[in-house]
């Protein structure tokens, strides 16, 4: 069975002669979380707006496949948490949320029931009849999230969902996002915290200057450079570490060292060659974190452009 929920085909968008989005293509499937990453000004928000039908692309097309239907985007079946938060600040939480669910085609009674269930999930029931502006930033954030999901969309676009949330609520939100994924929602997640992306996403798309930099599963992207990162806590002298097989760079701070093993270097050979004079307290060998891959990919692009 084809689980593709969203298909974006070579979309292009110009603003006053500047190309904001330059022919990107991607697909998102039901039951997956696709990370949509890029530095500020890369064309992320414009792409998202095109995907959600807020902007028309100059070229290319966006199609959505839901319940056997293929065709132009159905706005009722998408949910959106915009980066720029905004709700009717002088309306009550319940009224605003019911209205947004109604705009997605729900009947009022139905909308109300679902909104109340979500408010319960986020411990916001006592706030249901308070005005949105009376809520703390974190609470408003949760309300905004409910506006994106109350109508149970098939495609959910989350732009920076974790900003402004404390760690407790970040975890709560992560759980909810995973649940939605398991229930068959296709999730497009844009975030700047790469550790969150690594935790949640199955695949990622990196955009820079309106173009695709890389697109694939986390494993594919991490093994692309064939590098490893070693983190070490030790007693003794770190001098000999730089000469070990495969080591490309070494940084020592106190009793901690972090090393990068170059392309094709074997973690096994490295560990076996650790000198006996060194007492290892902690040791980890991992693929480079997404954060480093992101930074280096963008730096490389910028360097090539210059």
């Amino acid at each position: 069975m084809d689980r593709t929920a969203l298909r974006v085909h070579e979309i292009v968008k110009d603003f006053d002669g500047l190309r904001a989005v330059d022919g990107i293509s991607l697909e998102a499937s039901r039951g997956e979380i696709l990370g949509f990453l890029g530095p500020n000004g890369a064309g992320k928000t414009t792409s998202i707006r095109i995907i959600l039908g807020i902007f028309e692309p100059d070229e290319g097309e966006v199609s959505i496949r839901i319940g056997g239907l293929t065709g132009r985007l159905l706005k009722e079946r998408t949910g959106y948490l915009p980066e720029e938060r905004g709700l009717y600040s002088d309306a009550t939480v319940l009224d605003a949320l019911v209205y947004f669910a109604e705009l997605k085609g729900l009947r009022r009674a139905d909308a109300r029931e679902r909104v109340l269930r979500w408010l319960g999930r986020f411990d916001l029931v006592p706030w249901a009849h308070k005005k949105v502006e009376k809520l703390s930033k974190g609470m408003q954030q949760k309300v905004q999230f409910i506006a994106a999901v109350a109508h149970e969309p098939d495609l959910l676009v989350l732009d920076e969902p974790f900003s402004g949330l404390d760690p407790l609520h970040q975890d709560l939100l992560k759980d909810v996002i995973r649940e939605l994924r398991d229930a068959g929602t296709a999730v497009l997640l844009s975030a700047h915290q790469m550790n969150q992306v690594e935790e949640l996403c199955d695949r990622v798309f990196l955009i820079h200057r309106g173009r695709q930099v890389f697109y694939g599963t986390l494993d594919e992207i991490k093994s692309r450079d064939g590098e490893h990162v070693v983190r070490l806590r030790f007693e003794g002298s770190a001098e000999s570490l730089a000469a070990l097989p495969g080591v490309e760079s070494l940084a020592v701070r106190g009793d901690r060292a972090s090393l990068r093993l170059g392309r094709g270097a074997s973690p096994d050979a490295f560990v076996r060659s650790l000198p006996a004079a060194l007492t290892v307290r902690e040791l980890s060998v991992t693929r480079p974190p997404l954060h480093d891959i992101f930074v280096r990919a963008i730096e490389k692009e910028n360097h090539e452009a210059a």
Binding site: F15, G53, E56, T78, G86, S89, L103
Partner: protein, 281 residues
Amino acid sequence: MRLRSVIRWEFLRTIQSKQFLIISLLIPAMVAIAIFAATSAGKGAQQSLHEPPPPSVVALILAMILFMGAFLSGVMTLYSVVKEKQGRVVELVLSSISAQEMMAGKVIGLGIAGLIQVAVWAAAAYFVASRFTPISLAALGPVHWITYPLYFVLGFMLIASIYAATGAVMKDVQSGGASGLVGLIPYVPIMFSAFIIENPNHVLVRIAGFIPPFTPSVMLLRVGVGAAATWEIALSLVSLTVGVLLTMRFAARIFEIGLLMYGKAPSVRELWKWGRMRHAR
């Protein structure tokens, strides 16, 4: 179905807002001014204060009330659009409905609120005025009862869509700019109302009756003094309807593009370009 939700939401939010209350309190004063101005303008045609005023005076009063109501709900529309822009609600709304639906919902929802407001106060004013002056609705014939509501509603929609588009290109409520003046065009004939009442068949007046932004006020007055021929009424309604549809389409384009722009206000030339664009950016 969704449009009905938008209309309902905009209407309820409006009548619960503080601005609406303030405007409600301002209206009786303005209705009084309208009646006073119209009665003095119509003095020439009138023998004495105790005689019933001619239909022209009633027409002028109604024209003024129409434009007051349209102006006030236009301004409320403008505020509401600017506020949603500043509150960054627009993006979420547009991920659910089209800009056209959003604008139509606002224009209709706030229009109903404005019309109700004006109707209530006009009725109250009429009640008071008819006790102390000879003003009477009996002066209105069937032709008035048929054409006035049409000119009213179409005139309302014309003005409200202009204001909605103006709001969409404004950064905040302080920066009106040149685009704010466009909303005043339909009011120009009101300044010449004395001339129109006295020369309802002047060639310029007759032509102005067919130019959509001027149609509602000019025709209200011409019909009021009984100078408009049936074919002129029919033609003016057709041209006004076409004008309203074109204005709404043009305004909807500007609305759509302006909504998500937060930079400097666009120039008149840019607006002209936007209005004719096939789709939004």
